[in-house]
């Protein structure tokens, strides 16, 4: 099976390429990338006016299976992924039961293989049952297919235990992803502390709580010389700590999500439960700092923290509503807004969505080098569309961007040389 993507603008920062080229895929691999390719028997896809890039990798999603299949399944979640231009996703372990043992990891991979859409990289728990008490079997989990470790949704409460995790992970070269939150400061909170908590009469989650927790992880990375990846950075204070850590040469990487560089706490002012997320939407000052950090290289990755919830968890009192919003199908257009405003260029966008997540997770992809897996995203940076619930492939529709006019859309998603999603 051969696919020839003809005449697209190829943006591949892993090779410093940004020009119009033909791309030939064969037997699941990238076999040629040249000015003009003729290939007998290949299916030719006209990509004129479109961007061709290494497949996007979302290193932070919640697929909800096993346990909460009414919100999302591995099949619907990976369907949403490929519709958004993602060829791979890393799924967080806070399922029910949590992914803290090899059986669950294998279950996830089997379901993903059966769905046959995006690649799925299971992230396993750092501690058994995400209870913050004792470490999981890193070796067994890795053998079953886990690619990273995190207690996402809950921080590892004790610094000494996090230290052990960072040390032990070195034996397996497994990245550790930290949900950085000082629980004693955020407990009972629903929105950003400051304008939102004062206006809405809700308990606040202070930005300093995130910064305190990030600082702990940075110090532990220094102590253990083991890499740590900070999930969903939402604050200026957090960005400053990460910047200082990188300047010191510490093995710290970081991601943020599109809602943190697009929205502020103002989105919560009408008690819109779709804007209730943890970490919460922050101040305009925080938003600007996060956005700038993406341009400067302080934040390495755009990940969505795709967190599907049904009406059962969202159409209710704000304080009862679950935290989280879906993001797989809006990440690309929201990231393109940064390009439009000159915060980043297209090459940096592809670095944030593809090259860096592959590097941090140590998974294949993130490049169109010859011989690499044929995971490719083709998108139209100009197409305008309005987000409506009917467009959403995810089982849940909890997006604060419903009704937004968006610009830029995935047109074709190729995984292992197979077209898994097409709008062409």
């Amino acid at each position: 099976m051969k696919l020839l993507l003809r005449g697209g603008r190829v943006v591949d920062p892993s090779q410093g390429i940004d020009r119009v080229l033909d791309l030939l895929l064969e037997d699941g691999k990238i076999v040629a990338l040249e000015g003009r390719i003729e290939a007998a028997g290949a299916e030719v896809i006209d990509c004129q006016g479109l961007i061709v890039s290494p497949g996007f990798i979302d290193m932070h999603v919640h697929l909800r299976e096993p346990g909460e299949e009414w919100k999302e399944t591995i099949e619907t979640g990976t369907q949403a992924a490929v519709a958004g231009g993602f060829t791979a996703v890393a799924c967080m372990p806070n399922t029910k039961p949590p992914n803290d043992n090899a059986e669950i990891t294998r279950f996830i991979l089997e379901k993903a293989a059966r769905a046959g859409l995006a690649r799925v990289y299971p992230v396993a728990c750092i501690t058994k049952g995400q209870q913050g008490q004792e470490l999981t079997e890193f070796g067994d989990l890795q053998a079953a297919g886990a690619r990273a470790l995190s207690d996402d949704g809950r921080p590892v409460p004790e610094a000494a235990l996090m230290r052990l995790a960072l040390e032990y992970a070195k034996n397996f070269d497994l990245p550790i992803i930290s949900h950085a939150e000082e629980l004693s400061l955020s407990e009972g909170g629903h929105v950003n502390e400051g304008l939102a908590s004062a206006t809405l009469g809700l308990r606040g989650i202070p930005s300093q709580g995130e910064a305190v927790a990030i600082f702990r992880e940075v110090m532990l990375a220094e102590l253990t010389r083991s890499p740590v990846h900070i999930a969903h950075v939402s604050t200026k204070a957090g960005v400053e700590i990460i910047r200082a850590a990188k300047a010191k040469g510490l093995p710290v990487t970081a991601e943020t999500a599109p809602h943190y560089f697009t929205l502020t706490e103002a989105a919560t002012f009408g008690y819109d439960t779709n804007a209730k997320v943890n970490p919460p939407l922050r101040s305009e000052e925080d938003r600007r700092a996060v956005e700038a950090a993406l341009g400067e290289g302080v934040i390495d990755v755009i990940a969505t923290d795709h967190a599907p919830h049904s009406e059962l968890e969202k159409v209710c009192e704000f304080e009862k509503a679950a935290f989280g919003l879906i993001g797989l199908e809006t990440a690309l257009p929201l990231a393109l807004r940064l390009v439009e405003r000159g915060v980043i260029d297209l090459s940096r966008l592809v670095t944030l969505l593809s090259v860096n997540p592959a590097r941090i997770l140590k998974v294949p992809g993130g490049t169109l080098k010859l011989g690499s897996p044929a995971d490719v995203t083709v998108f139209d940076p100009e197409e305008r569309w309005v987000l409506s619930p009917e467009d959403i492939h995810s089982k849940s529709k909890n997006s604060p961007f419903l009704g937004w006019e968006l610009r830029g859309r995935a047109k074709l998603t190729i995984v292992g040389g197979r077209k898994v999603f097409s709008r062409l």
């Binding site: 502390e193 004062a198 009469g201 009408g270 008690y271 009192e317 704000f318 009862k320």
Partner: protein
């Protein structure tokens, strides 16, 4: 006075204009006369069903709303969460939709969660009045406080209003800060700093860490109840210390203007936020606030049902 009142709900003070507030207070003053008649009842809302949804304890607010509805000849459902299907797990939304299906025209809701009235208002065709939601807002309390001040001072602008107590957890304080600021007065807040977050300034209040600074030259002094039931952990060391440092007594009140008004939304912890010596003080208008509460709630019922310019 020909003003149109087009609101369908009263969810918070922020969504009212100064003209709206004037109009509500003016209507309340007119309706107050009804309450002093030998038969304090008019037929204005005959055939309307007002449902009181109380998910939290209340004496004054609930009975004041009931009195207001009955004085206007409306029918009243009194729903309290205890002994209802809420205890079987029925959701707020289902509860509301069921009571709407029984013919409710207007919900009065008190709920421990901020934004619950806003949530209901999005899902019902009935009108909604917020009778207190979490730490967020208590707009009818602020309106009755403003009515009391207006009657006594003749104006709501150019005054210094001091609010003393647990500001962080007080929906009464939040609605009064917004309301008095809107009407052109200055609002000073003070109390234990653990309950006095700096972001109150964003609402327009001046934060004072010394009670005396807030009280100095005040026209209106409002004490808040120390809400023992709301906090997970102790936010000040003891009630004794609270009374000594933040409690209002004759000596502290002497810092305010001689003709100041002493107010409290109730229920009062005598000996904590208010010294018992203030019980019969001529500046104390606490029970007049209660009477005005009925008038303000009557006005809101009439206005929300579109009885605008009577």
């Amino acid at each position: 006075m020909e003003v149109s009142f087009t609101h369908r709900h009263l969810l918070d003070i922020s969504s009212l204009s100064a003209e709206d507030i004037d109009y509500i207070l003016h209507t309340a003053q007119n309706l107050k006369e009804v309450l002093s008649r030998p038969i304090p009842k008019v037929p204005t809302l005959r055939g309307k069903l007002v449902t009181h949804l109380f998910f939290e304890a209340s004496t004054r607010t609930r009975l004041s709303f009931e009195k207001a509805a009955k004085a206007l000849s409306a029918d009243v459902f009194n729903f309290t969460a205890r002994m209802s299907s809420v205890e079987k797990g029925e959701t707020l939304l289902d509860t509301v939709l069921n009571l709407e299906a029984m013919g409710t025209h207007l919900f009065v809701i008190r709920h421990p969660m901020a934004g619950a009235p806003h949530f209901i208002a999005r899902h019902t065709k009935a009108r909604v009045i917020n009778a207190g939601d979490g730490f967020h807002a208590h707009p009818t309390q602020a309106l009755l406080d403003m009515l009391t001040v207006k009657e006594k001072k003749g104006t709501l602008s150019g005054l210094k209003v001091a609010i003393i107590g647990d500001i962080r957890h007080s929906r009464v304080a939040h609605s009064n800060i917004v309301g008095f600021r809107k009407m052109g007065s200055e609002v000073y807040v003070s109390g234990p700093a653990t309950m006095l977050p700096p972001e109150q300034e964003a609402l327009g209040a001046r934060v004072c860490y010394r009670v005396e600074e807030a009280l100095e030259g005040a026209d209106v002094v409002m004490a808040l109840r120390v809400q023992k039931e709301r906090h997970g952990r102790k936010l000040f060391p003891s009630l004794r210390e609270y009374a000594r440092v933040f409690g209002l007594n004759a000596r502290r009140l002497a810092l305010a203007k001689e003709d100041c008004l002493l107010m409290h939304p109730g229920p009062i912890n005598w000996g904590v936020e208010l010294s018992p010596e203030l019980q019969h003080d001529p500046r104390n208008v606490i029970l007049e606030q209660v009477t005005n509460g009925v008038a303000v709630r009557m006005a809101l019922l009439v206005l929300l049902f579109g009885g605008g310019s009577s």
